[in-house]
Amino acid sequence: MAIFIDKNTRILVQGITGREGQFHTGQCREYGSTVVAGVTPGKGGQDADGVPVFNSVTKAVSTTGANCSLIFVPPPFAADAIMEAADAGVPLIITITEGIPAMDMLKIKNFLALTDSRLIGPNCPGIISPGQCKAGIMPGSIHLPGPIGVVSRSGTLTYEVVHQLTRQGIGQSTCLGIGGDPVIGTSFIDCLTAFENDPETRGVVMVGEIGGTAEEEAADFVANPMNKPVVGFIAGLTAPPGRRMGHAGAIVSGGSSVSGGAAAKIAAMQKCGIHVCEDLGNLGRFCKMIFNQAISEPR
């Protein structure tokens, strides 16, 4: 088991003929993922390295039975691509694209609420259930199948965390980046809920960063309570207020009362029983200590 994607996932790639789309489709297939279709309007009927290309998502889905869309479409056209996928009834839409205007995302988020589709991202590395399916841009080789879920707002920081887990011999059920934008489709709480309900997952690592209050809300959920142990890490303790730290959503608001800061998030997480690691260099060893019991317990 895993969350959101597994060996039955049939991927359709929107923007498959673009440079990024083409490269990462190849990487996903090399990992063992099933890519059944591509969509590039105007290029229907062609094939991209053996994957059939369609003009529309609806046609791709009805022909191939795709149940997950991976989107590499450039920012000006990404909102349209997401809505097209949702309109075609694709249950899982993973958007890698960085730089979608916030106004577009506000509309999309409200539109998706009227559909049954789940959006992961945008501005995210995607999702991988090690040994089963990779639908994203993360390096597959650093992952190891196992019992720990990883959820993060970041890309390379997630790879760092996963790498350290793997080096400690701690495998992962599913790892996903939910995106660095202010408005995203799937929240920490959605992922924690899914991990809590996934019988294979024994514990979760949650990687947050400055900006917004998603970590505080997730901490409340963990205290609610979640039965599985959660390790937390927050990036951005040294980020100055009022500056956007690379990710559109990573900003500590200035003014007289600072909000979205790392220290407040760490305090909220600790208060709610999340095991916060403050030393990234030793996160793998920290997880080994925390998860030891949960991993070794017989089911």
Binding site: M103, G212, T213, L237, T238, G246, G281
Partner: protein
């Protein structure tokens, strides 16, 4: 992207949101002419910098004669304004807004911004205009009225009534207030604002609504559809190294510390800055070279860090996914050969083609310190910080 108050007011005029008569001046002479054109005193002179708190810092003056205009413009233009938002270095004033003074009866507060969690557009209003809204929220939360607008349906009359009745505004101004909200909401959505704030929004003695101040931030991701606003970019307001980095496609922020760092990915970059701090030093910058960086971009990033005189040591931390370690190594070697490395450099890399990258660094003959993992990198940075 930040824009100046005078630019925000230009947008207001375009959307028929009432603002005081006035114009921007870049020199003392222009300021005098601008005041003369207004023809009536009092006149307000406002420093135009990308920071709030200008009034408290002496950047706003009310004057009653041409000689006072001259004196105030001389004092404000060219001086450095230090506010909470500028940091200790402050910002040099290169232009002033010359405006007609208003007969103020009441001061309100109004802002529009997206609410991340609910994905609604939030309109905030308060009767406590002129005050810092965060202070009002803390001390008198009952004075803050909110309306949440679903962007799919847009601003509706009921939202306007929520604000109107919430503020308990006089009937005689209701219609003006409603149409003001309509125009501001339209501006906010059409121009891809991430923040629009009027503090204060005044009701004049003549019972007119006037936006006395205007602060607007535009979504950087949406600039491709707003060339008019791109043209307003004021590079004089930005750090010169940041402007250089942006031209090279790099995400760089200049900070106060002395350990430079170059990382791929924003989250890992922030975590690396934190690691430097934990090792007993302070980060000199944030630099995300991005996932798809090439050797030239890495070299440019390295050069920018090296050109910062504060920097006493550098940590390069790359987790190679799309950006391969050999590409990184090539860029570092390229830059180091060209500009020369004058400070100790610790390199930690992991991921795609790491062996090849490490070999290239070792064969380069350059004096680079290799760290086996992040914990090791932290120890090596701590040593540099101590020396």
């Amino acid at each position: 992207m930040n824009i100046h108050e005078y630019q925000a007011k230009e947008l207001f005029r375009h959307y028929k949101v009432p603002v005081p008569a006035g114009s921007v001046a870049f020199t003392v002479e222009e300021a005098v002419v601008a005041a003369r054109e207004l023809g009536v005193y009092p006149v307000v002179i406002k420093a135009q910098v990308h920071a709030g708190g200008r009034g408290k810092a002496g950047g706003v003056r009310l004057v009653n004669s041409e000689s006072e205009v001259l004196q105030a413009a001389e004092e404000i233009l060219g001086r450095t304004i230090v506010t909470k938002q500028t940091g200790p270095v402050g910002k040099k004033v290169g232009k002033v807004l010359i405006e007609q003074g208003q007969n103020i009866a009441r001061e309100l507060y109004l802002s529009i911004l997206p609410d991340r969690a609910s994905a609604q557009i939030m309109i905030i209003a308060s009767l406590a205009g002129g005050m810092d809204i965060e202070d009002v929220a803390a001390s008198m939360p009952e004075k803050i009225i909110k309306a949440m607008v679903n962007p799919l349906i847009g601003l509706q009359p009921f939202h306007q009534r929520q604000l109107l009745f919430g503020l308990d505004l006089d009937k005689t101004i209701a219609r003006d207030f409603s149409s003001l909200l309509t125009r501001l909401y339209q501006l906010f959505t059409e121009k891809d604002c991430t923040m629009l704030e009027i503090n204060p929004l005044v009701i004049t003695g003549e019972n007119q609504l006037v936006a006395l101040d205007a602060k607007i931030d535009i979504d950087s991701s949406a600039l491709y559809r707003h060339q008019d606003i791109v043209d307003w970019r004021d590079e004089a307001e930005e750090d010169p190294l940041e402007v250089e980095a942006a031209r090279a496609g790099l995400n760089y922020i200049n900070l106060d510390g002395n350990i430079g760092n170059m990382v791929n990915g924003a989250g890992l970059a922030m975590a690396t800055m934190d690691l430097i701090k934990k090792a007993g030093a302070e980060p000199a910058n944030f630099l995300d070279v991005g996932g798809g960086a090439n050797a030239e971009m890495v070299a440019e990033g390295f050069r920018i860090i090296l050109s910062d005189p504060k920097v006493k040591g550098i940590l390069i931390n790359i987790f190679g996914g799309i950006l391969r370690c050999d590409v990184l190594a090539e860029g570092v070697v390229q830059a180091a050969r060209k500009s020369g490395v004058t400070v100790p450099v610790v390199i930690r890399m992991e991921g795609t083609n790491v062996e090849k990258g490490r070999r290239m660094l070792a064969d380069s003959g350059l004096n680079l310190i290799t760290a086996v993992d992040l914990a090791d990198a932290a120890v090596k940075i701590a040593e540099i910080a101590k020396s």
